[in-house]
């Protein structure tokens, strides 16, 4: 499992993707959040719909907020979600 990326989805991203988490092994060319998103979009119509919201998608890498240029690597926990609305 150390070789996979643990991807989590929350709120309407979860609903659009149709699952709350998955363990994936993207190609070696995927090394950033933006690269991961581009690759995830190709996995299913649900993934494509989820990430079509583009600028509304937020990301956390290993439970810290991350920008599109942040590095991702095997073993990381990468979460995608809409802007937060708690409180």
């Amino acid at each position: 499992m150390a070789g996979t990326i643990h991807v989590l989805y929350f709120a309407w991203l979860r609903e659009r993707v149709g699952r709350s988490e998955e363990r994936l092994s993207p190609p070696d060319s995927v090394s950033t959040v933006a690269g991961l998103i581009d690759w995830l979009k190709t996995l299913s119509d649900g993934h494509a719909r989820a990430f079509a919201a583009g600028p509304l998608v937020r990301c956390a890498v290993n439970q810290d907020f991350a920008t599109p240029d942040a590095t991702v690597k095997p073993g990381d926990e990468v979460a995608f979600f809409p802007p937060v609305t708690g409180g």
Partner: protein, 154 residues
């Protein structure tokens, strides 16, 4: 020094205040904010609010927000409790407590904590309407602006 909890159960404010002040008499004031579920959203009656969060990251984010407040004000402790799951109109969502020897520090830290919590902790709300439809709540520009008035973290 901070107490941070995410839970489905309601919280008891009196008990949380007592826990914050237990065994000490150097607190001059405790500021508090309680967020509750309103029955109307965008002019439509809501029947329930469902809160989802990111277990693990949530607790980290809340602890970081609390630490930031403790670095900015002379706090003697603070409490952040956020409920998740299905909540009905009128029910409690969130409790913020900040204790300080000084009342202005306690109240300012309380405002800071709730403003930051709204933009930096991974919670999402979905509203349920009387006709059976549901909708995720959109983030508000006003919440981002409210957080930005406190400046960037140190």
């Amino acid at each position: 020094m901070a107490t941070v909890r995410v839970q489905e159960a309601d919280f008891d404010i009196t008990a949380e205040v007592a826990a914050l002040g237990a065994g000490r008499a150097d607190i001059g004031g405790i500021g508090s904010f309680i967020g509750t579920v309103r029955d109307v959203a965008g002019g439509r009656t809501i029947t329930a609010m469902t809160l989802e969060h990111y277990p693990g990251m949530t607790e980290r984010a809340l602890a970081r927000i609390a630490a930031e407040a403790e670095g900015r004000w002379p706090l003697l402790g603070c409490t952040l409790i956020h409920r998740v799951g299905r909540l009905l109109p009128g029910e409690n969502i969130v409790l913020v407590l900040a204790a300080s020897p000084h009342r202005h520090a306690a109240l300012e830290a309380t405002a800071f904590l709730i403003d930051w919590l709204k933009t930096a902790a991974p919670f999402w709300k979905k509203e349920s309407f009387a006709d059976g439809s549901e909708a995720w709540v959109d983030a508000r520009e006003a919440d981002t602006a409210a957080t930005e008035r406190w400046g960037r973290p140190a």
